[in-house]
């Protein structure tokens, strides 16, 4: 992790996985873990446009959704997709104010689920300002934050 934005994004996302899904991050990136099984994106507008992408590999999604619902048995595909969208929404909603300052007003669109998100989204006009991976025992989460503007112009809250 190089940038302040990435540190904030990692800290916020790790806390959210822990509080919502009882998933504890591991210290090492898992090279063998399957990644990018499925993902969700949250587009936002405000001082500038952008989007946050969350992709989950391995068994994270099924464990996350079961834990969110307090169920031991597997949940439906529909509920898994909803859990992924909600996780992306909460991560985005928590990370943006901390990265760009709590006075900035962002409007988040309804999160969208993708089976193969990188092939669907057109991110050509946006810069990737943060890219993190969070390893778990059951797989790996990858999070990308794209925005029209450079990170350095806006990082204010992080200090």
């Amino acid at each position: 992790m190089n940038s302040q934005a990435e540190k904030i994004l990692y800290r916020k996302a790790a806390l959210i996985f822990e509080e919502m899904g009882f998933l504890m991050p591991q210290s090492d990136i898992c090279d063998d873990c399957q990644t990018d099984d499925s993902g969700a994106s949250v587009s936002f507008t405000g001082p500038f446009k952008g989007c946050l992408l969350l992709s989950l590999g391995g068994e994270i999604l099924s464990i996350l959704s079961s834990n969110m619902l307090g169920q031991e048995e597997p949940v439906s595909k529909q509920m898994e997709e909803d859990a992924l969208r909600e996780a992306a929404n909460v991560i985005c909603g928590n990370a943006l104010p901390e990265i760009y300052g709590a006075k900035e007003v962002f409007h988040l669109d309804t999160p969208v689920f993708y089976n193969n998100m990188h092939s669907v989204l057109d991110l050509s006009e946006q810069s990737c300002i943060a890219k993190i991976a969070i390893p778990f025992e059951c797989g790996q989460a990858n999070i990308f934050l794209y925005a029209e503007s450079k990170e350095a112009d806006y990082v204010s809250a992080a200090g």
Binding site: E19, M20, S65, V105, F106
Partner: protein
């Protein structure tokens, strides 16, 4: 005393999480109604007696702020206790929401944090004694 509750959130998973926490809170609930947006929520309030509403802010069709404004402007339900459950972090928007006489719970939340706010707002705490199905101060039980 048992409550009728409305949970308005466009995420089915989040509604289920909230309802699970309500059921584990030890408080007694008669009916728990679900709405996927503010308009559906107002329709339910029009037809059913509700004692407490938990409302998300970012919802399609009608968002939570609009829904709360409608409630506060309708004399029959203007005093309805409302808990906003949202990711909203902008200080001005949160302050503006709080001025609508609501409690605010920030996502992500722990079951105990939500339970505390429910107890604060309703003034009722009749925790069921022990057992697997109660929330303890020690943390979430799911």
């Amino acid at each position: 005393m048992s409550f009728n509750v409305l949970v308005a959130d466009d995420s089915a998973v989040m509604r289920s999480m909230i309802i699970r926490i309500l059921r584990l809170s030890g408080l007694s609930f008669s009916e728990i109604y679900e709405a996927t947006n503010g308009r559906d929520g107002l329709d339910i309030l029009d037809q059913k007696w509700v004692d407490l509403a938990l409302v998300d802010i970012n919802m399609p069709i009608m968002n939570g702020e609009e829904m709360i404004d409608h409630i506060r402007n309708c004399k029959e339900i203007a005093d309805l206790p409302i808990i906003v459950v949202s990711t909203e972090s902008n200080v001005d928007r949160v302050e503006n929401i709080r001025r609508k006489n609501v409690k605010f719970v920030h996502k992500p939340f722990t079951p105990e944090a939500l339970r505390k706010v429910i107890v604060q707002l309703t003034g009722v705490s009749n925790e069921q004694p022990g057992g697997e199905n109660s929330l303890s101060e020690g943390g979430p039980d799911f």
